[in-house]
């Protein structure tokens, strides 16, 4: 494709932002796949060495109040947060995209009712809604995923519906109908592929957002049962010991949450600049 070569020169910054994002994501993803390579200790090992010892050569991020290795918890915790965030973002995309397509394409009463429902969900602050759902569903990996997913369904719905509305007015859609294309064909071959590029960008940004939401939920104790290493949970634990000078328990999981969210945000922003043809016109 032509824009590929051109944009590499013209949009160097965007490319670097995206590559940096991808590197961060790949690094953390590797940690989730081979945690034992990165951490010598088990995240739940309460005998890793001393209570709340400061970072040292043996424990580069120190140990927590239950004598667990903080680095091991960071490494294994990546698995939880990344899994939940990606699964939630994908789940909301899988539900939101088809609904948006159908709603925008069909129009009429169906569209109005669905839009009303989605807009009312959207009008809630995301975290409050996630808290409500998480509280309703109870703790558990699947439940927290569902609670986070619900928040983002309207994002996809609104985006895809808007794009569908504009693409179905394109001349190429009318031209295809004028030579005998079915409505289903128009939807699947003409509208959907032209909508999906924008969705990729939003997906990446949404994962970044879902990471924060997941961390927030487990921070306030609505997330996961004990025993599953989780950054948000370690954060709330570390908070208690911060006044007594134990800075490492809260700092490292916090930095990791930030880093991971940053990675997906950079990927999303980079993709947005590169894929968006309107920005290319500048």
């Amino acid at each position: 494709m032509r824009w590929f070569g051109r944009s590499r020169r013209k949009y160097r910054t965007e490319w670097w932002i995206m590559i940096a994002g991808v590197l961060i994501i790949v690094l953390i993803l590797t940690m989730t796949v081979f945690p034992h390579v990165f951490a010598r200790f088990d995240p739940n090992d309460q005998d890793a060495g001393g209570q709340m010892t400061a970072p040292s050569a043996a424990h580069i991020m120190g140990t927590d109040n239950l004598s667990r290795d903080v680095w091991a918890r960071v490494v294994y915790g990546a698995r939880t947060i990344l899994g939940v965030a990606i699964a939630a973002a994908l789940l909301s995309a899988i539900i939101g995209i088809p609904l948006g397509l159908l709603s925008g394409f069909a129009g009429g009463m169906f569209d109005r009712i669905l839009s009303l429902i989605m807009d009312s969900v959207y009008s809630f602050p995301g975290l409050i809604l996630a808290i409500a759902f998480a509280a309703m569903l109870g703790p558990g990996v699947i439940n927290i995923t569902l609670a986070v997913a619900v928040v983002y369904i309207p994002t996809y719905f609104r985006l895809v519906r808007g794009q569908t509305l504009s693409i179905k007015e394109e001349v190429y859609v009318e031209a295809a109908r004028a030579i005998g294309a079915r409505r289903g064909t128009i939807l699947s071959r003409y509208v959907f592929p032209n909508v999906i590029a924008t969705v990729v960008v939003v997906l990446s940004l949404n994962i970044a957002d879902a990471i924060m939401t997941e961390a927030a939920l487990s921070y306030i104790g609505l997330g996961l049962p004990a025993g599953i290493p989780d950054w948000g949970m370690d954060l709330s634990m570390g908070k208690k010991f911060l006044p007594s000078g134990v800075w490492w328990m809260i700092t490292f999981p916090g930095l990791m949450i930030m880093l991971l969210a940053l990675g997906f945000t950079m990927l999303g922003e980079g993709l947005a600049e590169i894929l968006n043809p309107r920005l290319l016109e500048r």
Partner: protein
């Protein structure tokens, strides 16, 4: 008048309205015309006079919320407006096809040219094997004068003129009887337009096409059309064979349109324009819709709309200026 067997398409007293918040836009009002097998009919008029709406309605694709309030569109004896969705899908592309004025955006940006053709063939018959379909496509490309290697390219790699040729190829690949071309050359430059005109003429011969050419380009219709229908504010004002209408335009609107075309042989200091603008279609003037701009306006023009009557063989006009003479002729005919 054309004989019944030769008539392929007959639009009878068609009216199309768009209900909008401030009222009802009567985009097309009481339009009737026929199209003979193999004939090219030019549909001429200013922007917004209902030409495109009329073209789209022949495929029953008028844009929402537009709907046909009255009339029939008979294609080979069947009313298109009463067809089932299934029959419509079969008809579009196989019997009647349409191309649009914006070739740059008429193709799906994500499909290669080859995929456009294969998809179009498969809209109509999904059982056609790929090789057979490709053979048909290659034959079509040859007719269009496009190289085979272009098949693998995407629309953005082609020029506007080439894209318009692809569009017409897609419209004709299923061998329809009628092609509706809605301002096909509007966004093309004159050289490309000339090439496209030649292509349209040769395709017409090869495929024995009937053509409805919607345009405001009088030069283009003069070259292609056998007959011309002049539309104003949703109604047909005059309809006549091409040579006849240029030689003896009856309706003052037609005369105005023809006068507006600059003539290189006459020393003109200024461009001739027609004063005024088309009426508001939500609240059109009572009587003749052209009356407010007409240089020959009479009292009767503001009282009732004139009917489209034949004033010479094959030459009809909707104007009070000629009504009297026709009435006399009729009276004479009855007396004789």
């Amino acid at each position: 008048m054309p004989s019944a067997e030769k008539t392929i398409l007959e639009v009878q007293d068609l009216s199309i309205a768009y209900p909008i918040s401030i009222g009802v836009v009567r985009a097309v009002e009481g339009v009737s015309f026929t199209l003979d097998d193999g004939e090219a009919l030019g549909l001429v008029g200013e922007s917004g006079c209902g030409k495109s709406t009329l073209g789209l309605s022949i495929l029953k694709l008028q844009r929402p919320p537009g709907r046909v309030t009255e009339g029939k569109i008979m294609y080979r004896g069947t009313d298109i407006l009463g067809m089932s969705e299934r029959a419509l899908l079969k008809m579009r592309g196989q019997s009647i096809s349409m191309i649009f004025q914006n070739p740059l955006t008429s193709l799906n940006p994500l499909f290669t040219i080859e995929r456009h053709f294969l998809e179009t063939i498969h809209f109509h018959d999904s059982s056609v094997p790929r090789e057979k379909a490709l053979a048909a496509v290659e034959k079509m490309l040859e007719t269009l004068g496009i190289e085979r290697k272009r098949l693998k390219e995407y629309p953005h790699q082609l020029s506007g003129g080439m894209r318009q040729r692809i569009m017409i190829g897609l419209a004709l690949i299923m061998n329809p009887d009628i092609l509706i071309a809605d301002e096909p050359t509007t966004s093309l430059d004159v050289i490309v337009e000339a090439g496209f005109t030649d292509l349209l003429l040769s395709l017409r011969r090869i495929y024995k096409l009937s053509i409805i050419l919607i345009t405001h380009n009088l030069g283009l219709v003069a070259e292609i059309a056998d007959r011309i229908a002049v539309m104003y504010a949703g109604s047909i004002m005059e309809i006549a064979p091409t040579e006849e209408i240029f030689a003896r335009p009856l309706h003052p609107y037609t005369q105005g349109l023809i006068n507006c075309v600059p003539n290189i042989l006459v020393d003109q200091k200024e461009l001739v324009t027609m004063p005024g603008s088309p009426p508001d279609l939500v609240d059109p003037p009572i009587g003749c819709r052209f009356a407010p701009r007409c240089p020959h306006v009479m009292a009767v023009c503001r009282e009732g709309a004139p009917a489209l009557l034949e004033h010479a063989p094959g030459h009809s006009a909707a104007c009070w200026l000629y009504a009297k003479s026709t009435r006399e002729k009729r009276v004479n005919a009855v007396e004789g």
